[in-house]
Amino acid sequence: MNVAIVKYNAGNIFSVINAVKRLGIEPILTDDAALLRSADKVIFPGQGEANTTMNYLRERNLDQVICSLSQPVLGICIGMQLMCKHSEEYDTDCLGIFDAEVKRFMPQRHEDKVPQMGWNTIEQCSSPLFTGFDKPEFVYFIHSYYVPLTPDCTIATTNYIHPYSAALHKGNFYATQFHPEKSGKVGERILKNFLEL
């Protein structure tokens, strides 16, 4: 299987490469449109800030390329947020694949620290991405912005300060707010499920 990982100016991309390698697949890291289009699966990972990453994608026309992909695509963390319509982070227009607005966490109590950092449960999982899970499972999150519950796209929910989207799906596009590449065995299964779509 040919797995391409989108190369751009976000952090934490090596973790995704390593996680795919642990599943026995050697992924390619590329920003080449032809290579991305010809891959069986594309992963759009990363950690970072919406405005800088979005500008980088636009300068290289990667925004058009990502939106035009027709094979299964998995966005992770900032990847997922960039696939939404707009982010409050520096008032950034994003790719618009998911009709959703990315918002900043507003702490309600002192214990609500931002970013959320650590393991939280995902629930109401309704997608082949979550095949094999029959109870709420813990996955690893690090983020300051979130995607609210979105009736047409939310395929898993979680709760920090309030309920919000842990994962989204529309057509061939899938995305997780958490980091499956850092979520132990559960995350490994989610990545495997994606690669088997």
């Binding site: 973790s15 642990r22 931002v114 939280n120 979520s183 490994e188």
Partner: protein, 251 residues
């Protein structure tokens, strides 16, 4: 619900895991990658790898080992020891570390925190503080506890928070290695003042100490070494206990 984190700390010297008692008398405790994998399988939530001699000897950290760890480990891990400048951070993150922990260098050059936050994001920047309580109050130490400073623990932690640290890892030198519980009063004061997570370190001896630091110390995570390395507290047993005590943990 966000879980309280259990973090085994692997102190590394010459590629091997060691653990000191009160920062001296190092004892051998195994291969860092095998130990890390084993902890991950037992349910550790994160790992910390500290190159304990790096700061003292001015030696650069263990990039090669970090690369191997990143290939094998499927949970987040932090590396620290001997990080003096931004390019040390970049090298370790590129090798696959999720976060870096800075200690002496941050006190010597607090601007380093701002730089890490700006270049890589606050989430990668753990500020580790070694402090000791004397009749004067809580004061910070450099170089693995060898050099005293005039920085007050609470003031320094607040400054680190404001400069863009993502987490504070506080080790009480009074409690470290003594196995009599974490410094919960100081931890609580930190957790209740700071806007970022606080990791308790130093003093774990039995399961109750973890419960106490989560409940009384308001800690977001607890770090320990020898009680895990020598199997005194198996992580699955610890987590079952904490769950039964009503604490949210990942099982």
């Amino acid at each position: 619900m966000l879980a309280k984190r259990i973090i085994p700390c692997l102190d590394i010297k010459d590629g091997q895991t060691v653990k000191g008692t009160n920062f001296v008398n190092l004892r051998h405790a195994g291969d860092p990658i095998e130990l890390g994998k084993s902890y991950s399988e037992q349910g550790a939530d994160e790992l910390v790898y500290l190159d304990i001699t790096a700061s003292h000897e001015g030696r650069k950290t263990f990039t090669e080992l970090v690369g191997k760890i990143a290939l094998e480990i499927n949970i987040p891990f932090t590396v620290g020891g001997g990080i003096n400048e931004l390019k040390d951070v970049e090298r370790l993150l590129n090798a696959g570390a999720d976060k870096v922990s800075i200690n002496s260098a941050a006190i010597r050059n607090p601007q380093l925190i701002d730089e890490i936050a700006r270049h890589f994001g606050s989430q990668v920047c753990v500020v580790a503080i070694d402090a000791k309580q004397t009749e004067k109050g809580w004061y910070c130490y450099l170089n693995g506890g060898r050099v005293e400073t005039d920085r007050n623990l609470f003031e320094w932690a607040k400054e680190a928070n404001e400069r863009g640290a993502g987490e504070i890892l506080f080790t009480s030198m009074n409690h470290d290695g003594v196995k009599n519980g974490f410094a919960d009063d100081a931890l609580r004061q930190l957790a209740d003042t700071l806007t970022i997570p606080v990791i308790a370190s130093g003093g774990a001896g039995k399961k109750e100490h973890f419960r106490d630091t989560f409940i009384n110390g308001h800690s977001d995570a607890a770090l320990a070494a020898s009680v895990f390395h020598f199997g005194e507290i198996p992580i699955p047993e610890l987590k079952q206990y904490l769950k039964a005590e009503g604490i949210s943990v990942r099982i």
